[in-house]
């Protein structure tokens, strides 16, 4: 994850309380989604950014996951996201996300 984005995530978690934060991702594939999810839960796996070794354990979802889709206004979801359900490997993404949450999310 971009270093500036990591810095912002860290600052917001400190400022607002990790339990009050949800991170929502838009990654194009499962692996990239998993890496980003890992970064905001278990720390930066590439050891490059401010979240290296920082285990925030944030709640993290991909916007295409059922948990997100069910909470979003259907018309807005249709307009903003739906076409990408035909493009992205949603199952693969959801599996990656679920695995990371099970292992690293604290909230």
């Amino acid at each position: 994850m971009d270093l500036e984005n990591q810095k912002r995530v860290k600052e917001f978690a400190e400022q607002l309380g990790a339990e009050n934060i949800v991170v929502v991702l838009g990654a194009a594939e499962g692996e990239a989604a998993g890496l980003a999810a890992e970064t905001v839960t278990a720390g930066d796996p590439t050891f490059a950014g401010p979240l290296t070794g920082v285990q925030l354990g944030l709640k993290v979802y991909h916007i295409c996951e059922e948990e997100m889709k069910s909470e979003v206004d259907a018309a807005v979801y249709e307009e903003q996201i739906s076409m990408m359900e035909m493009v992205l490997d949603v199952d693969d993404i959801a599996n990656e996300m679920q695995a990371i949450r099970n292992e690293h999310t604290k909230f």
């Binding site: 994850m1 971009d2 500036e4 984005n5 912002r8 995530v9 917001f12 607002l16 009050n20 934060i21 949800v22 991170v23 929502v24 991702l25 838009g26 990654a27 194009a28 594939e29 990239a32 980003a36 905001v40 944030l58 709640k59 979802y61 916007i63 295409c64 948990e67 997100m68 909470e71 979003v72 206004d73 807005v76 979801y77 307009e79 903003q80 996201i81 990408m84 992205l88």
Partner: protein, 43 residues
């Protein structure tokens, strides 16, 4: 229980997946407050 409602939401979109602003629109309708939104680019 709702995941997004009343929460502070950080959006990390992807240029080749779903860009940040598109996610923002969705999150708002679920009662989440977007405190930061960004879009990543790997190319």
């Amino acid at each position: 229980m709702s995941i997004l409602k009343g929460k502070k939401v950080i959006v990390i979109g992807d240029r080749d997946g779903i860009p940040g602003p598109a996610i923002d629109e969705c999150v708002k309708t679920a009662g989440g407050e977007v405190v930061f939104s960004s879009t990543e680019c790997f190319v």
